[in-house]
């Protein structure tokens, strides 16, 4: 555990943006509303982008982004700084995605409807875009953990270690999920 924590610190270089985020987090934790506002303002685009990648449509992405903002508001005080703030935000966002999709399933909508009905997807102007859309649809249909692992590693371009941190599993297990995802996708791509 200690090793993992140390590694985390080692992995996140101290750049100015990082330092700024940290300062904002501390201020927000001390009750500074403006700092909190700035913090989520800074992160909103990333949250929205992530939610969009995971869901593929605007309505869900906006719902999720709002959920995440609210969750951040109530939980920022419990963030303990032992991981990067952005990892923490990812984790919350992924949970929100899962919530929304499960709720959707429980309401009787089929999960694949998410992948197929993507009204806001940018129009495909050429074949390449069509292939890409097919790829995204296939990835979004993967089992949750495989999808999370693949998107974190390939769409978000994170290391396996960072993805493991976000998903709360071991690094080797991330590799395994990616591996399984490839096998699942083999026939589709």
């Amino acid at each position: 555990m200690h090793a993992a924590v140390t590694e985390l610190y080692a992995a996140s270089p101290i750049d100015p943006r990082h330092a700024l985020t940290q300062a904002l987090v501390v201020r927000a934790q001390n009750g500074d509303v403006e700092a909190f506002g700035e913090l989520i303002g800074d992160h909103y685009d990333m949250i929205h982008r992530t939610a969009w990648k995971w869901c593929g449509n605007r309505a869900d992405a906006e719902d999720i982004a709002q959920d995440v903002c609210v969750k951040l508001g109530s939980a920022i005080s419990s963030f303990d700084g032992r991981s990067a703030f952005s990892s923490w935000v990812y984790r919350i966002t992924l949970n929100a995605v899962r919530d929304l999709q499960r709720a959707g399933k429980r309401r009787g909508r089929h999960s694949d409807a998410y992948a197929e009905v993507t009204p806001d997807e940018h129009p495909a102007d050429q074949e390449e875009a069509a292939t890409s859309r097919q790829l995204w649809a296939a990835v979004r249909q993967l089992p949750e953990k495989q999808r999370d692992a693949v998107l974190l590693v390939y769409a978000e371009e994170l290391s396996h270690a960072a993805a493991a941190e976000i998903m709360g599993i071991r690094e080797a297990t991330v590799s395994w999920h990616v591996h399984e995802a490839r096998k699942t996708l083999r026939g589709l791509l």
């Binding site: 555990m1 924590v5 001390n30 009750g31 509303v33 909190f36 506002g37 989520i40 909103y44 685009d45 929205h48 982008r49 969009w52 990648k53 605007r58 309505a59 992405a61 982004a65 903002c69 609210v70 969750k71 951040l72 508001g73 109530s74 939980a75 920022i76 005080s77 419990s78 963030f79 991981s83 990067a84 984790r91 919350i92 949970n95 899962r98 919530d99 499960r102 429980r106 309401r107 890409s132 790829l135 995204w136 949750e144 953990k145 998107l151 390939y154 769409a155 290391s159 396996h160 941190e165 709360g168 690094e171 080797a172 297990t173 990616v178 591996h179 399984e180 490839r182 996708l185 791509l189």
Partner: protein, 694 residues
């Protein structure tokens, strides 16, 4: 080579160029406003909390599991008022998670903070199988809550009014007032969800599916450094049943779900049984060439528990503790459970009693202790069980133990049998407190077995922990056939413990063996000094159970050593006991004794076979299962054995196979070979799949 290797053609690289549109400004504004409102709400709450430093709060991980049914970890404060306040949202959760929920009511959440009180007491735990979530109390009784909160360990508390709820989207159905309030409360609890990342890592429970304890494979050890290997026996079989189910459904199970010793011990082996209950088992040993490595040998140790004669029919006092939460409402859960238990009831006789307690969906005693011959009454009660319902039963486990103690049979089997798909909200919320409770009850003579059902929610780690603390078994019931195996064919083993705290210690002779590796038993390893310490708990063995342990050993001087000898040698040239290979010690306690007995047997060259064809079919079969498990897990030591070779070995060891389990296993090898072809390699070997991979 597979496409995995080629970075340039990797289709997944296409994911980098995501075309995500920019967020709309108005949506962003709405979200930010909602976030700020939540923030201010949380702040006000903090300010009203009179004392405690803010850092104290940081240790609180408030991870609510989002699956509506996972409420096991609610940390209820002692006050009954709070319990009452929790009942409503809980009901809502259960309600919203059953298939009967009207679609519109189900899960839309208002995206706002409304007058809600919430408390979150949390804690981090490293090994605990579950998540701590808490909270939720609707705003129905603000004053009462106020009082309650002032004196308790609340960390957070929403102010009574935070403006009018802006909704997330227009889709929200307008539920009744009370429902809305509880929905808010639920939402609050979900907001509480994020937790510090490191604690995330430590928490094995993932709301998204089945959970398993992570473990690393047993390492190769040099006899010169560590001549003694100690472990506890494990008679559980849940891992095999789960693995089989995953393969049959067309998935390769997670490596952590495959526990090789449980795969091996799933099958009955025909070892000679012991002669009397006083010395309840004797070891059968063999040393033969390793099928996957020509230079090493396998040392196999098999024991079979004594089988009492029919005249010794022990009285049993059984209490079924059954999960009736909404998630049990699937064909492979409650309905299968009912049929499984009716099988078990058929096996019981006039000196046995059965009682049924339910929890989660509905709560309470469904059947008072009843003589097992009154089958109509028992089966009637079983039939009437239904999943779903609106009230949470919090008293499940205490009630079950109370019934078991009421009907306690001295000298008989007193056992609670917990059947669940993964919800352990049995009434004691702190997993550690639950384990302690079970331990205490075990010491007073009531044991616990756990039967797991279904998938998607299965909490294997908790199942194992509870059953081990309760001196019972954990089994996974995937099908009616499996129910038949566990509850009929092995009922004696399941119900009639003949020895407890069985530990095995093997000391290798450095003159004969240079390296060794225990296959499996990673989760059962003990320290060397634990062997003679009777306080250290270990596995139990039931009537007729067989347990097999396999070591891969490297003979001294064979040249197959993977560990280089020490340059400066060993100082002590120990006088070796001739040509003995190893020395086996086993400790066990008789069921009603607290003092362990010792069995000691040397492993002599008499049991060495030069050709694997000469050993008994059982031995070959066990070796095949071990090879299968290693290959499925992607073991570092599995060697290059192909699926075909494993299948051939399993076939050669099939024997009579009256029950058909071995044939089934052989078919499973075929399935596995399709899902994970021989060429399929460990992701860590594949450059494309990751830059770092230790």
């Amino acid at each position: 080579m597979s496409d995995d290797n080629n970075m340039h053609d990797d289709p997944l690289n296409g994911l980098k160029n995501a075309n995500t549109p920019d967020p709309r400004a108005d949506a962003k504004q709405r979200s930010l406003a909602a976030g700020m409102a939540a923030f201010e709400a949380a702040q006000k709450k903090t300010q009203t909390t009179p004392q405690g430093n803010p850092w104290g709060r940081r240790l609180t991980s408030i991870i609510a599991s989002l699956k509506g049914i996972k409420i096991m970890d609610l940390r209820l404060p002692i006050g009954t008022a709070v319990i009452a306040l929790i009942a409503l949202p809980l009901g809502y959760q259960l309600y919203s998670s059953t298939s009967m929920t009207p679609a519109e009511v189900a899960v839309q959440r208002p995206a706002i903070v409304t007058p809600v009180k919430e408390q979150a007491k949390t804690e981090q735990r490293v090994e605990a199988p579950t998540v701590t979530a808490e909270p939720v109390a609707p705003a129905t009784e603000p004053q009462l809550m106020q009082d309650e909160t002032a004196s308790s360990t609340l960390t957070r508390q929403a102010p009574p009014d935070v403006g009018s709820p802006p909704t997330v989207s227009g889709k929200m159905a307008a539920p009744a007032q009370s429902m809305a309030a509880s929905a808010d409360a639920m939402f609050e609890s979900e907001m509480a969800m994020p937790a510090p990342m490191p604690s995330m890592v430590a928490l094995p429970t993932e709301p998204s599916g089945d959970t398993f304890t992570s473990f690393d494979e047993q390492r190769l050890k040099a006899v010169a450094d560590e001549p003694v290997s100690t472990f506890s026996i494990d008679v559980d079989t849940a891992s095999y049943a789960y693995t089989r189910r995953m393969l049959e459904d067309g998935f390769v199970p997670e490596p952590d779900a495959v526990r090789i010793e449980e795969l091996i011990n799933y099958f009955p082996y025909d070892y000679p049984a012991a002669d009397s209950a006083a010395v309840p088992f004797k070891p059968t040993m063999a040393v033969y060439p390793t099928p996957w490595n020509p230079k090493t040998q396998l040392l196999q140790i098999g024991i079979k528990g004594y089988v009492p004669t029919v005249a010794e029919d022990k009285a049993s006092n059984l209490v079924f503790l059954i999960d009736t939460s909404g998630s049990m409402d699937e064909p492979d859960k409650l309905p299968l459970l009912k049929r499984a238990f009716s099988l078990l009831v058929d096996q019981l006789s006039a000196n046995d009693t059965v009682a049924i307690v339910v929890y989660a969906g509905s709560a309470g005693v469904v059947l008072e202790p009843t003589v097992a011959t009154d089958k109509a009454k028992i089966l009637g009660a079983l039939d009437n069980l239904a999943a779903g319902g609106s009230t949470a039963g919090a008293e499940g486990i205490a009630l079950a133990y109370r019934l078991a103690e009421q009907g306690k049979i001295e000298g008989g089997t007193n056992r609670v049998i917990l059947a669940t798909d993964g919800d352990f909200n049995v009434g004691i919320d702190d997993p550690e407190a639950l384990e302690d409770f079970i331990k205490a009850k075990r010491d007073s003579g009531t044991t616990l077995s756990v039967l797991g059902f279904g998938q998607g929610n299965l909490d294997d780690a908790t199942m194992q922990a509870l059953a081990q603390n309760g001196n019972g078994n954990a089994s996974y019931i995937s099908s009616f056939r499996e129910a038949q195996k566990v509850l009929v064919e092995e009922m004696g083993g399941t119900l009639d413990m003949i020895a407890k705290d069985v530990k095995i210690q093997v000391e290798f002779n450095p003159a004969v063996v240079s390296e060794y590796r225990l296959i499996g038993y990673e989760t059962r390893a003990l320290n060397r000094e634990d062997f003679n310490n009777d306080k250290v708990d270990a596995g139990d063995i039931g009537a007729g159970h067989t347990v097999t342990a396999i070591y891969e050993i490297t003979p001294a001087g064979s040249g197959a050593e993977l560990i280089d000898p020490l340059r400066y040698g060993q100082t002590n040239e120990t006088p070796t006991a001739g040509d003995e290979i190893a020395f086996l010690r086993m400790r066990y306690k008789l069921p009603d004794s607290d003092v362990s007995q010792l069995i000691e047997v040397p492993v002599t060259p008499d049991v060495v076979y030069g050709d694997i064809a000469d050993v008994s079919a059982d031995m070959r079969y066990a070796a095949a299962v071990a090879a299968f498990g290693q290959k499925l897990k992607g073991s570092d030591y599995g060697g290059e054995m192909s699926w075909d070779e494993i299948e051939a070995l399993a076939r050669s060891g099939r024997g009579a196979d009256d029950s058909g389990y071995r044939v089934e296993f052989i078919n499973l090898i075929k399935t596995a070979s399709l899902l994970k072809p021989d060429t399929d390699r460990n992701p860590c070997d594949t450059p494309a799949s990751g830059e770092v991979c230790q």
